[in-house]
């Protein structure tokens, strides 16, 4: 595959290369010292409080905007676990997880569509939520970045259309994988095969506010899973689509 097939405008390409290089060059180093042993040193001078989390050994992917404010409470913070309105739940490698209707707002202050996965390994009462979310349909850019809307029209016309997304259920880039699926209303079960082993079917559920709308399901698979295949089944047991993901190619590469 080459980009020549895309017929890139040479003027645009030159402008992009020049601009990206110029913006990058405008980024200068600061005096942040190298990280050292977890918990052994003071935080780098002049850093904001949440950098403390990184220095304390919290790995990539868990830096929370208010990780230091663990005593605060409110709508942005975990008030109870399991969370309310659970659509489905499971446990893998000792990590409990729940799938719930999205309860956060986008940057425009509107409720987000779809669902969120909550892991017990990364959420504690009193701390800020750490969740991953997804929605059903095609994203349509909103008036600002982070204000996307989701157009379900085309997807509802085709039961094979689905979205599957994966995230680590542990801290940072460790722990088992949680796979969320947003599927057509006809799809009632997810059949998951992990490295050649078929797991028990996982039922899908709709959001309460759209009982005839898209359905959602969640699966948990082990940390060392290479390939996960999700077959979408309708109410008759017929496979309407198959989604395969090489999980070993996602996330931060393993140190080997």
């Amino acid at each position: 595959m080459t980009t020549d097939q895309l017929d890139i405008d040479p003027v645009l390409e030159r402008r992009l290369r020049t601009s990206l290089a110029a913006v990058a060059a405008a980024v200068t180093a600061d005096s942040a010292p190298a990280p050292s042993g977890p918990g052994l040193d003071s935080p780098p001078p002049g850093r904001r409080p949440r950098r403390l989390a990184a220095v304390a050994g919290v790995t990539a992917g868990t830096l929370s905007l208010a990780a230091f404010a663990y005593l605060q409470s409110g709508p942005e913070y975990v008030s109870e676990l399991p969370p309310p309105d659970v659509l489905s739940s499971g446990e893998v490698e000792g990590v409990r997880y729940w799938l719930v209707p999205s309860f956060h707002e986008d940057v425009c202050g509107r409720p987000m569509a779809g669902v969120e996965i909550v892991s017990a390994a990364t959420n504690q009462v009193g701390q800020e939520w750490s969740t991953g979310g997804m929605a059903y349909g095609d994203p349509r850019e909103g008036e600002r970045p982070g204000c996307d809307r989701w157009d379900e029209t085309a997807w509802l016309a085709d039961p094979s259309r689905a979205a599957v997304d994966w995230m680590r259920l542990g801290e940072g880039d460790d722990g088992p994988w949680g796979g969320m699926a947003a599927v057509h209303p006809d799809v009632t079960h997810l059949v998951v095969e992990v490295d050649g082993t078929t797991l028990p079917p996982v039922p899908t559920r709709p959001r309460e506010d759209a009982p005839d709308g898209p359905r959602y399901g969640v699966v948990g698979v082990p940390d060392d899973t290479d390939v996960a295949t999700i077959t979408l089944q309708d109410g008759t047991g017929r496979a309407v689509a198959v989604h395969e993901e090489r999980l070993s190619a996602l996330g931060v590469p393993a140190a080997d």
Partner: protein, 155 residues
């Protein structure tokens, strides 16, 4: 400060940090559109790499991949946080560059990542697909959409 033992293959952790932090920070700024998020992403990657530095076979490649993925995590988290709003101030003072950067930052994160990795890092699309964990055809589609948007908005 505790030091990570030097590896017999790649650079020591301290050398890698000294030499690679700024290039990685620049890449992360382009990927996230935010110096603040970029610093967090890069720092988190180095922090995660420190205790296992000796076991990382190709540390420089590892660091770049980790930063790319960490920046993707930033986008996922930011999508869930209404308080995170992109800074919109000029960064270079060069009108054409700042205008281009402003349009680039408006791209969906995945499309911007493909543009940055292709035109800044000079990575082929297959390699970008491997980095992002996406099929190469999807990467190509993302790039095409991004270029369509850029062509229109910069006309």
């Amino acid at each position: 400060m505790r030091s990570a033992p030097a590896t017999g293959v790649g650079p020591s952790f301290e050398v890698a940090y000294k030499e690679q932090r700024l290039p990685l920070l620049r890449l992360a700024v382009l990927l996230t559109g935010s110096r603040e998020h970029a610093e967090d992403a890069v720092q988190a990657v180095f922090t995660a790499a420190f205790p296992r530095w000796n076991s990382i076979a190709q540390p420089l490649s590892y660091l770049k991949r980790a930063v790319v993925n960490s920046c993707a995590d930033v986008h996922r988290r930011r999508a869930r946080d209404r308080r995170a709003v992109l800074d919109r101030e000029p960064v270079t003072g060069i009108p054409e560059v700042d205008e281009t950067w402003a349009v680039l930052r408006e791209l969906p994160p995945r499309q911007r990542a493909v543009v940055v990795l292709h035109f800044y890092e000079d990575l082929p699309l297959v390699e970008i697909g491997r980095l992002l964990g996406r099929p190469a055809a999807t990467v190509r589609s993302d790039l095409r959409r991004a270029l369509d948007t850029l062509r229109k908005d910069l006309a």
